[in-house]
């Protein structure tokens, strides 16, 4: 897929594991990582399929704890 692509960066220890981001991500980029526990004691969100990210910002917009920083990648063929 060409066009808008992004990379979500996660401040893991700020996450409370509410999973709102997972629920609104249209491309299934994110998952709750129940293999680890963050400093707050939650299972934090993690990036499962970065290649699917379309930099739509949905995760960042819904996150109550501002854990996301989103980078936009400009694809060679796309805009």
């Amino acid at each position: 897929m060409t066009g808008r692509r992004g990379i979500p960066h996660i401040a893991v220890d700020s996450c409370k594991g509410c999973a709102l981001c997972v629920s609104v991500c249209p491309e299934s980029v994110l998952t709750i990582d129940d293999a680890r526990v963050n400093l707050k004691g939650y299972y934090p969100v993690s990036v499962e399929a970065v290649e699917n990210c379309i930099a739509c910002l949905s995760c960042a917009l819904i996150c109550p704890d501002v854990v996301f920083t989103i980078e936009r990648v400009v694809d060679q063929q796309g805009g």
Partner: protein, 247 residues
């Protein structure tokens, strides 16, 4: 590559005490982003009100004052009338604004105070443990309405935005929702309009943000978003209830 979203400098580094999935964090971020974008962080005085948001002064990077339950609009009035060149806002929940503070909010609107009110409506008292609020929906169970709110006993929920829009001197009143990214973008625009309204000396502005309280509602965070959409929006319709021209 470029960063297209990062944490606003309007928020401090302190992690919020809010429960996982509570939309207070989103509301804080919208206020902080708008103040940063308008270049107002150094020129703003905020009024924190009683409820979960009492500690908002720990999270917002502006001078703030803590107010007794419901009194924030009166405190904001005193501040704004002393330093009218500063941006003054209140951040109030529904227990605070729609119950114990109805006199203060109505009369701040009545005087056309040039302040901005951020009204977080989650249809329940959060901090004190999920009691019934004037905004609690009919049938909604709370710790003080264990069988659900009975309208014939407790009345129907108050629609504050509709009420305040009727106050002759109110300037801008809009209800938005925080249950979905698309709506959060709209909510931010509303917050921006409200603060712009104040900058342009247009008088009283209020944004009601429909919010969730997963803990108080007894739902998980994602179900809470769905509950908000399915139950709150039909009763509390979104939209602009009052707007000055050209805002």
């Amino acid at each position: 590559m470029s960063v297209i979203f990062s944490k606003t400098s309007g928020l401090t580094e302190t992690a919020t005490h809010y429960c996982p999935g509570c939309t207070h964090g989103i509301a804080h971020r919208l206020v902080a982003e708008v103040l940063e974008e308008l270049g107002l962080l150094g020129e703003t005085i905020g009024c924190a009100s009683v409820g979960c948001s009492i500690l908002s002064y720990n999270y917002l990077n502006v001078d703030m004052i803590e107010c007794s339950h419901g009194r924030a609009p009166a405190v904001a009035t005193g501040i704004k009338r002393t330093v009218p060149e500063k941006t003054v806002f209140t951040y109030q929940g529904d227990g605070d604004l729609a119950s114990i503070g109805t006199a203060e909010i109505v009369h701040a609107a009545h005087r056309g105070e040039n302040i901005t009110v951020i009204f977080v409506n989650n249809a329940i008292y959060g901090m004190t443990g999920g009691q019934m609020a004037p905004t609690t929906l009919a049938g909604q169970k709370t710790t003080t309405a264990p069988e659900g709110r009975q309208p014939e006993f407790s009345g129907l929920p108050l629609k504050m935005s509709e009420m305040l829009a009727q106050v002759p001197s109110a300037s801008y009143v809009e209800r938005v929702s925080l249950h979905h990214p698309k709506y959060i973008r709209k909510a931010k625009k509303a917050v921006l309009r409200a603060f712009t309204c104040q900058m342009e000396h247009r008088g009283f502005s209020l944004v009601e943000l429909l919010s969730t309280c997963p803990t108080g509602w007894g739902l998980d965070p994602i179900d809470s978003l769905e509950w908000l959409e399915a139950n709150m929006i039909p009763y509390y319709p979104l939209g602009v209830f009052r707007a000055p021209e050209e805002v």
